[in-house]
């Protein structure tokens, strides 16, 4: 068992997945590793399986081959509730359409991310308030449906980082935003991950994002290259 200090936040090796049992591989990633608190961009054209990859990394889908380690644990070796709780504790997710719990307040949405972690109940409200304050939400008790799109995204970011995850997986978080809003949004996401020492793997179809990351990969190249070398560049 490797020591916790040396564990990468996320490591992928020989990960393969396809929807049809005999079709082409939708995902065929030889190797990818994110150091703790490292921020990596994964670009790829639409339909190349970026979202599929994130669901594999979050343990929401079973790979056909290979393994995904989050904070040193092979997430697909964990079964049932243990995997769910591990995901809740170590992985934060941000979606293009936020996927907030409608009918619940901003505060409740953030506290929902603490329900299934080891964080003590009496700390939930304080931590959630802290995360929302940090992201500039001044109406924590407002139902999320009554917040602006920008505020909803802030709530989604707060929810992703509040439990202190090892890694945050962001799926096209700026796809539906104009360039100015996208810039602000990226500042928020990257800033929040940095402050919470969470690694960030962000997938996007937008190559212009590369300048914001020290490391990026094109999913297509990543799949084609031998293990360990990666593909892409450094910003």
């Amino acid at each position: 068992m490797p020591s916790q200090m040396a564990d990468p936040a996320l490591s992928i090796s020989n990960l393969r997945f396809r929807y049809a049992p005999t079709g082409d591989w939708t995902i065929d990633v030889r190797s990818l590793e994110l150091a703790p608190a490292e921020q990596v961009l994964l670009v790829g054209r639409s339909g190349r399986g970026k979202s599929t990859l994130l669901t594999l990394l979050a343990g929401l889908r079973e790979p056909d081959e290979g393994e995904v380690r989050v904070h040193g644990r092979n997430i697909h070796k964990l079964s049932g509730a243990a995997r769910d709780r591990y995901r809740g504790t170590h992985i934060g997710m941000i979606f293009q359409t936020f996927n907030l719990l409608h009918g619940f307040s901003a505060l409740e949405n953030v506290m929902a991310a603490l329900m299934f972690t080891g964080v003590k109940r009496k700390e939930h409200a304080d931590r959630a308030h802290g995360a929302l304050d940090e992201l500039g939400i001044d109406r924590p008790n407002a139902p999320v449906d009554q917040l602006s799109i920008g505020q909803q995204q802030r709530v989604a970011v707060a929810r992703a980082v509040v439990a202190g995850p090892t890694v945050v997986l962001a799926d096209e978080p700026t796809a539906s935003l104009d360039p100015e809003a996208a810039r602000t949004s990226m500042d928020l996401i990257q800033g929040a991950c940095s402050r919470h020492n969470a690694a960030l793997l962000l997938v996007s179809h937008d190559p212009s994002m590369r300048s914001r990351f020290e490391r990026w990969h094109d999913l297509a190249d990543l799949c084609a290259q031998p293990a360990g070398t990666g593909a892409g560049g450094e910003g």
Partner: protein, 425 residues
């Protein structure tokens, strides 16, 4: 304060308020119906047991013992044929009675049945076990042409002590019925409610009834202008009764049922008499009615099961709308079995709220039905809900609702996460 399972359930129920309220109402109606039927079943039997009170046997010339009981105790109709006074005296003398009280029915006052009887009806017979007659006002009749009103009869007629009325010879809808305006009756007593059919009756003494009937006979024989008939004008043919309330004398420690059986069979050896044991006849009546009861209960059971199916459909359909919410909770670390438990709990809560609504409905419905039964039939039905029956129905409903939640909960359990996180397109 942390977000709890309870908060998630509450939001889930309130976010679909219309569906939640209609589902609870459906369950409530079904549970209310079930509780009322179960409660009324026992309460109805108890109500019918009142009225025969401390009587062992009822003797009449009705066509059957059940008819005798329905006519003689519940005032359903006027008994068909009379018993001669000398026959009554022979029966009274021939058996070891504690008391044998003559009764005569067939007259009425504005639709209320008149029971002519002796003072013993109030001093010896009790309308319910260990409950003697109580007078709200006045006292039992002492003279001819004095009457006592049952509590309900007083309420319905509006008569008071000292009111003067004229009785009708014959029952309502009887074509030969006519009012005896020549004989005034004075109200001298009003009874407290007894919870029996006697509450609807008007009581007079036998002599008065014989006199007004003898007057009819004399007018037929001698024509009008004969003056008022008095006791002196009565013949044996005028002294008729229609029933005898009898209680067999028993010694403490002796077998009362054996003594009653002996009297019963000996009187019945005269085929012109009908002898009825009221408690036996009421049991038989409830055996007949019991089958209908079972049909009603079965129907109520079907309604309860239908309401369970209603819960299942409401939740099952809501699962379609909640796929994304379930997927998000799973992403946040909520295990599948927790999702299963939440849906099952939601179903049980719907059942519980429906059951509580049903108990309230049954309580209100019971009060209304009880008031209606008392007003129309004079039967006092206890509107209280039997605690054990109510508890069983509530628990049964919660269990049924939980079972109804299994299929929606399985659907939620199996909700694929990745597919439901995609942007809506």
């Amino acid at each position: 304060m942390a977000l709890t399972d309870g908060a998630i359930l509450r939001r889930s129920l309130t976010s679909r308020m219309f569906s939640t309220v209609t589902t609870i109402a459906t369950v409530g109606v079904a549970v209310g119906l079930m509780i009322v039927l179960l409660a009324m079943k026992d309460a109805g039997r108890k109500a019918f047991d009142r009225g025969s009170g401390t009587m062992h046997l009822l003797i009449s010339r009705d066509a059957s013992p059940l008819t005798a009981v329905l006519n003689g105790i519940f005032y359903a109709n006027a008994p068909a044929a009379p018993i001669q006074w000398n026959e009554y005296q022979q029966i009274r003398a021939a058996f070891p009675w504690a008391w044998a009280i003559p009764t005569q029915q067939g007259d009425s006052y504005r639709g209320l049945p008149v029971m002519a009887t002796s003072e013993e009806f109030f001093t010896k017979f009790q309308p319910a076990q260990d409950e003697s007659w109580e007078f709200a006002e006045g006292e039992v009749f002492d003279e001819a042409f004095e009457i006592v009103l049952g509590a309900e009869a007083a309420r319905m007629s509006g008569l008071r002590i000292g009111s003067v009325i004229n009785l009708t010879h014959g029952m309502p809808r009887d074509p030969s019925a006519h009012v005896h305006e020549e004989y005034d009756y004075t109200v001298v007593g009003i009874l407290e409610p007894t919870g029996s059919a006697h509450d609807r009756a008007v009581f007079s003494d036998l002599r008065s009834t014989w006199i007004i009937h003898a007057h009819d006979r004399r007018v037929d024989e001698l024509g009008t202008g004969i003056g008022l008939t008095t006791v002196a004008d009565l013949t044996d043919a005028d002294r008729l009764i229609t029933g005898i309330y009898g209680r067999v004398a028993t010694r403490p420690g002796s077998d009362a049922s054996s003594a009653i059986q002996q009297v019963f069979f000996r009187i019945r050896s005269n085929p012109t008499f009908t002898v009825a044991s009221p408690s036996d006849q009421i049991s038989k009546l409830f055996q007949i009615v019991g089958n209908i009861d079972r049909i009603f209960l079965a129907m109520a059971g079907v309604v309860v099961i239908s309401s369970g199916i209603g819960i299942m459909l409401a939740l099952y359909n809501s699962m379609e709308q909640r796929r994304r919410q379930i997927a998000v909770l799973r992403v946040l670390g909520c295990p599948r079995n927790k999702i299963f438990g939440l849906v099952l709990t939601e179903s049980a809560i719907l059942g519980m709220l429906g059951a509580v609504a049903g108990v309230l409905l049954a309580f209100v419905g019971g009060q209304v039905a009880s008031a209606a039964m008392q007003a129309r039939l004079g039967l006092v039905i206890d509107p209280g809900l039997p605690p054990l029956t109510t508890l069983n129905v509530v628990l049964g409903t919660v269990i049924l609702a939980s079972l109804a939640g299994v299929i929606p909960a399985l659907k939620a359990y199996r909700t694929p996460v990745a597919e439901n996180l995609r942007p809506l397109g």
